[in-house]
Structures are given as C-alpha cells and as structure tokens.
Amino acid sequence: MATDTLIGAGFTDPVFQSQAAFRALLVALSEPGTPQAVSGGVAPPEGLHAATATTLLTLADYETPIWLPTALRDGPAGAWLRFHCGAALVEEPRRAAFAVIDGAAPAPRLTDFDPGSDQFPDRSTTIIVQCAAFHGGGTVTLAGPGIATRRDIAPAGLRPGFWAEVAGNNAAYPLGVDLLLAHADGVIGLPRSTQIGKAA
C-alpha cells in the first residue's frame, strides 16, 4: 500500500514538542474559547489539520483508541496515526478515547461518543472538531469554569444545530464529551463544563 511508504514525519523532538503542545492544550481546556497555537512542526497527513495531528501525537498512544471518519481512517491519516501513535482505530464512536470529526458533516453526532459513566465521568471521548475558521461564523457566548465573565467566539464551518448539541452536552454535566475545535495550527477548547449562550 502506498500509504505505508508515504507516512510523513512526526515530532522531531518528541519530549519538548509534545510538552509545548500539551501546555497549549491545557490552557485551551482550562480557558475555554481562547484560541491556542499547538505547533509541533509536524507535517500533517491529508485530511488532518496541523493542530489535530499535533494534538493526537501529544496525547494518543496504544492505550487510547481513536475514531476517524471512514475516508480518513482508510487513507494516509489512519496510517499516520497507527504508525506514530500506535493507536487502534475503531469503527464504533463510543469506544473512542479520541475522535476527529468534520465540523460541517452531519454525522456522527456528539451523543454518538462516550460521555463517561456516572462514577467515572473522566472516561469520555475527547473530540477534535475540525472547522473552517475561528472567526466569521455565528457568534456564541461562553461561560463557566475558566472564563472570568463571558467570552464570545465565532468559529465557521460548523453544521447547523452544532451549538444545540454542545449545549446538550453541557446539560448532561458532569457526563459529556470534551471538544477541541481545530483549525490550521490552532485549537479552541470547549470542555463539557462550558455553558453555551447566544451572543447578546
């Protein structure tokens, strides 16, 4: 298979690149709505934004099954993740520790993934939602832990009804998935604790 021989490079300096990327991810999920750059110098495979690839390289390994849309799973992205992370690629969204979805695609829904259990709400899927841009979309207002008062964001390229799903995810708190919007080398964290409102 061509993909096997054409796997792009991962981190050149895994210890420090993953540490820097992790700190950006920690800020992203600690301060929801703030764009953070996760640039690990990684050449992402086709279909993954640089931020998506760097995030998975930083966090995923053989202990964390990953869900990808079929086209990505069967293409260079799947091969790249198998090679660099040693991660299993699963077909069932509910089994995934990490997932990558296209924000504009109608499926799968956020509720298709693992929301964790009542006693172990941490055992839930972290979903990387790839989107078209971090501005230019409809504005939503965020509130909750990590946000001093309110914070507005307007990412573009998200399916209709996406924010209702995110609000529904928050309503199930402490259960729920945690989201990372990804575009180019940026991420915006939307943990389950974040409340979603329409901009005033």
């Binding site: 300096d13 895994p14 210890v15 420090f16 993953s18 540490q19 820097a20 992790f22 700190r23 991810l25 920690l26 800020v27 999920l29 600690s30 301060e31 930083t58 966090l59 995923a60 390994d61 202990e63 964390t64 520790a97 009542d118 006693q119 172990f120 709400p121 941490d122 839930s124 972290t126 909750g144 832990p145 990590g146 946000i147 001093a148 708190y173 402490p174 945690d178 943990p191 389950r192 604790s193």
Partner: protein
Amino acid sequence: MTVHQTLPGDETSPAYNYAYLDEQTKRMIRRALLKAVAVPGYQVPFGSREMPLARGWGTGGIQVTAAIIGPQDTLKVIDQGADDTTNAVSIRRFFQRTAGVATTEATMDATIIQTRHRIPETPLTEGQILVYQVPIPEPLRFLEPRETETRKMHELEEYGLMHVKLYEDIARHGQIATSYAYPVKVEGHYVMDPSPIPKFDNPKLSGNPATQLFGAGREQRIYALPPWTDVVSLDFDDHPFETSKAPHDCDLCGAKDSYLDEVITDDEGGRMFVCSDTDFCAGRRAEGHEGRLGGDQKSSKTFANSFEGIWPATAGAR
C-alpha cells in the same frame, strides 16, 4: 522515542528521561489533567508511578509537575509556605537535576509553583500554575473509608454526611472545628478536598486567575481547578465560613494579613509569630516594612522560619 540526558553534575547516575518520567507516563498524566480541568473538582484516577521519593512526600505533585514542566518554565517549590524547608529543597533539587529547570523563590517570577499546605500570599496571575501535593484527595474519606462508597456519594452528590459532621462540630464547639483541609464545593457540584491548606487560604481557591492542579500519588488521583472557577467553602447560613489565623502581626515584617507560624523562643512562654510565606515576608522587609522584632535584622535571610530548627541568635541572649 525518548530523549535521554545525563544528570548535570552527576556523572555516575544512569541517564533518565527529561523530568524523570517516561513519555508514555507523561501522556497518561496529561490526559488525566485535561479531563481534570474539564470536570473541576472531580478526582480522576491515574496510573501513579513509583517515584524515587517516598510516597506521601509529594509524589503526586511531583508527577504532575514532571508531566507539565518544560525548558521555558521557572519553578518555585514551597512547603509550609517556605522555600527552604527540607522537602521543598529536596523536590526543587530533583527538578534541577532531572529537568535542568530554572528555579526561583519569587512567587511572581514562577510559572509553576509546587506547594505543600499553602497558597502563596502574593496573588497569583494568569498563566501561572499552582501544583498541590495531596495526601488524601477524598474529602469524605474520614467519614467513609471505603472508596466504593465515596465514589457513589460523589455520583449522587450525596454530601449529607459532610454537613452532618460540620453540624456536629457546631453542636459540640459552637463552631466548625476544621482548621485545615476545609472542604469546598466546586461550581455547585463536586465536594473537593483542597489539600491540607489552612482554611485561611480557602478564599484564594475561588476565582483565582491561575490554574490549580492537585496530585495525589499514593492515592492515584488528579484533580483541578481551572482559572476563575467558583469554589465555595461549605458552611451553614447561621454559621458562615470564616477564615482564621493567629491574632498577631508578623514579628519580622509587620504584615497584618498573612498566615503566621508560631515560633517558640524560650521555655518561659516566649514566642514570636512570623509569616509562613518566606518570599512574601522577605519581600516586605526588603521594601522597608518592619515588625516587632524585625528592625535590626531585616536584611538577613536567616530570620526566615524554617524546618531546620531554632538556634540562639546570640550566645547568652537568655
């Protein structure tokens, strides 16, 4: 995969990974940390590793720090508020050796502060990370020793037992007789143990611009408070939470609002009270503040309180 380095100044040590932990372990801890900030106050189980320092001596905090620290960081380590207590020195030395990281005693210069039992007096700022060493992460543990039961209580938000305990205190003593590790409720949901900080520090937990990470190594739990998280100390309408400290000013720097250590100065009832936060106290004295006994010695760091013991300042002073 892993980059090894020889410990600086220690030719005979085997090479260990940067910050001691292997990369797979760091990934596992990092995943736990991200879930912890996503569910503030909830205790995330993690595969705590054996560390070369004793369990119960800060291995949870050390693992958290090791998983987050990088070359761009400046680390401060305190125990009882002081940079020079033995265990703080030992842990700071560990990260100097294994991560070659820059260290500081100045609260405001640190990007990561690992602490045992205190929150610094100097207000923390955005971007700083406070890492707590936690002995018993479960706030309900002394009311119910079984993990299987306490986990159910958190699931059902069944915290009546805690309120009963606090209420019994009031019945017996006229007030809540908990002076440290005072339980808090996070964002109206999880009841959390803030680690054994004095309740004097509890108000600093809430709405803090810094990120607060808690690591319990022996008990294999990590939890977190993202910046600006709402944290409420448990109380009753007719017995509201109140902080407390020794009713004195610092004898060295004169601070009226800092947490104090009591130092016994002789066997005839003599004692002095000094800031537990040594950096805060030294900073105030450098600015010219003086306490009852601080006047003539304010430039000397030897008056900072520490674990090392108490010695006569001058022979024959008694």
